[in-house]
Amino acid sequence: MATAAASDVRVRVLLFASYAESLGFDSINMSLASPATVGAVVERLRALPGGDRLPPRPLCALNLAHVGPEAPVAAGDEIAVLPPLAGG
């Protein structure tokens, strides 16, 4: 992980279902160099053990709403990485 700096963005990241199983955790706090995006969060997760299970562009949510990888993240945001949905 990057060393925390004054300009770093600290966010909370949630994983679910098969992604949580693959990476072995379902939530993590992460610091990112500013400016940061949802895509940068995904990149960091993919570099972790088991992270190759994540596709390059998984479904993601930012503060409870679907967003694309280009969405900017701010300190305190909650980012969720979502396996293929199977409701209904």
């Binding site: 679910f16 679907h66 967003v67 199977a86």
Partner: protein, 150 residues
């Protein structure tokens, strides 16, 4: 809130919620647990959710349907352990006209399946267990309408 529930879905109560003396056409869709999937015998399943987002997404879907059609709408999705035949999801649209009721109901179930963060774990007769990942793995190319602007 209350789009998700651990309790059996009470369809009659949901219908009563959206029905009114001015809305004579009521379209309901129910998804029930099937005993087979991709050729395998299913014994039961377990739904989990990213619950605060699932609630928020259902609220958005309902608001969209109500803005687009003159209809009162409801969504309820079960989470936790479900047995074969139990109702996993119920969506309802009530309108003065049946065309609008059908269209709104169809929208509710399609969007619920596409957008609400819920996952399904199936338990099979042969003892195995697996996540059912029927949906898109990546952001769909036509997701622009429901992605929040960056």
């Amino acid at each position: 809130m209350g789009f998700l529930t651990e309790q059996p879905i009470d369809v009659a109560a949901l219908i009563a919620e959206v029905q009114s003396p001015t809305r004579g056409g009521i379209s309901v869709f129910l998804g029930a647990v099937r005993n087979h999937h991709a050729g395998r015998e299913v014994l039961r399943l377990h739904y989990s959710a990213y619950r605060p987002m699932a609630e928020a997404e259902c609220a958005r879907i309902v608001a969209e349907a109500q803005a687009r059609w003159d209809a009162a709408t409801a969504i309820q999705h079960r989470v936790g352990r479900l047995e074969i035949g139990e109702t996993a999801v119920a969506v309802i649209a009530a309108s003065a006209h049946r065309e609008e009721a059908f269209a709104a109901c169809r929208y509710l179930i399609e969007q619920t399946k596409r957008r609400v963060p819920i996952w399904k774990r199936e338990f099979y007769a042969d003892g195995s267990v697996s996540w059912v990942e029927a949906g898109s793995e990546s952001v769909p190319s036509d997701a622009g309408t429901w992605l929040q602007p960056a």
